[in-house]
Amino acid sequence: MKKFLIAVSALTMLGGAAISSAQASPSEDLKQFRAYFFKKFPGVKLQDYANGIYALDATRRFEWEAMEEFPPYEDGVEVGKKLFNKYDLGSCFQKGGIGIKQYYPYWDKKTQKVRTLEQDIMACLKKKGVDTKKAKIGWKKGKLAAISAYMAYTSRGKPTSVTIDPSKASLNAYNKGKIFFYAKRGQLNMACADCHVYNAGMLIRGNLLSPALGHTTHFPVWRRKWAKKTAAKKGKSGPLDGFGTIHRRYGGCNKQVRAKPFKAQSETYRDLEYFHTYMSNGIKLNGPSVRQ
């Protein structure tokens, strides 16, 4: 109970910032979310937000474009494509699984829960009789992320099109995600919004904080940090090293404010993804993409 009260008070303290009260509709939230960022960064167009900090800083953009010339994820996406075809994953999805990522996550009426792309991929693998443990397919990185990256790649250019189901249960999940986003947590007592809304565009040590608007368009992401870490651990580099799903990043961000991370694909993170992705509706997908 105490946690919920804290969360609510965090909301009321916002005083007309990025969102309206907890009872407002998702479409109202979206309008206010965009208005906030448009005011904060005049001159940055809605579609530019898909590039995160590279829409805000020319110097960093120069380095990023240099990396994207021969993107480090090219080979990884090829691996994802091979796996996708090997396990015949297309047959589980609409349109053969090509160009459909913009609809994720969605409200699953059957389970009455938010459903993510990673969950549907896993479910398909299990349906095809793949022993995911033996094949070493986990939730946050590696092969699953590669398959998700391939599906993201085929969906490039499609505008984010998440539908918030109007049912009470769905709105409840949406609001839980919204509250999570704005609630402070961890020893550092920071909310997602602290970095990515109120301080977006500011420096935190040597890094620029990305705006939450447009956040989800480039996932799964190829992080140079993850690639370096994985290669160091294994002793050699592989094509999937830098990949990570959005839940991998949620966990990392929570750890950074010294909060205990939730498990990938936990209901908490799925609800967060529901709210978070909806806030980028309309912005064209451009994943996978290189990030720090």
Binding site: T59, R60, F62, E63, E65, A66, M67, E68, E69, P71, E74, V77, E78, Y153, R156, G157, C195, L203, I204, R205, G206, N207, L209, R224, K225, Q256, N286, Q292
Partner: protein, 154 residues
């Protein structure tokens, strides 16, 4: 950006056409040609003397250095040098505060344009120095690049 669509094409499998083959290219015998003493030099003047025969150089505003003002990752700093001088024979890139300042040197053939782009390692914040030999004379330009450490994102 058009770049994205282009990448899709390359991944569609029509990628890079490559020639198989013995005798495709015969790089020069490396040990003879590689300017070892220039690369091992610890001071800028020594490196230039070993490379160009002289450490003398004239600062020129006809050499454009494109490099980030602040490099997020000192291990991969993109540097582009473009000279609008006549008769450019070679371009060298140095990182002033590296233990061995000379990072690379490029000899231009007859039809090459006087520009190169590469990525270098920088141990710390310092000037990136581009030295260009053109028409028998040596010119230079500098640009300061700050090298940072990562923050909460890194």
């Amino acid at each position: 950006m058009q770049r994205r669509t282009f990448l899709k094409g390359s991944l569609a499998g029509t990628a890079v056409a490559v020639a198989v083959g013995a005798g495709l290219l015969t790089p020069r015998a490396v040990l003879a040609a590689w300017p070892k003493s220039a690369f091992k030099a610890k001071k800028i003047d020594d490196a230039l003397a070993k490379l160009f025969g002289t450490a003398d150089n004239t600062p020129s505003d006809k050499i454009a250095i494109k490099a980030p003002d602040i490099a997020e990752n000192g291990a991969v700093v993109p540097v582009s040098v473009k000279a609008s001088l006549d008769g450019v024979e070679s371009i060298a890139i140095l990182a002033a505060k590296n233990a061995n300042p000379l990072t690379s040197s490029f000899s231009l053939g007859a039809n090459a344009l006087p520009q190169v782009s590469t990525r270098i390692k920088m141990g710390k914040t310092s000037d990136v120095i581009a030295v260009v030999k053109a028409g028998g004379k040596v010119y230079s330009a500098r640009k300061n690049v700050k090298v940072t450490i990562g923050g909460c994102g890194g």
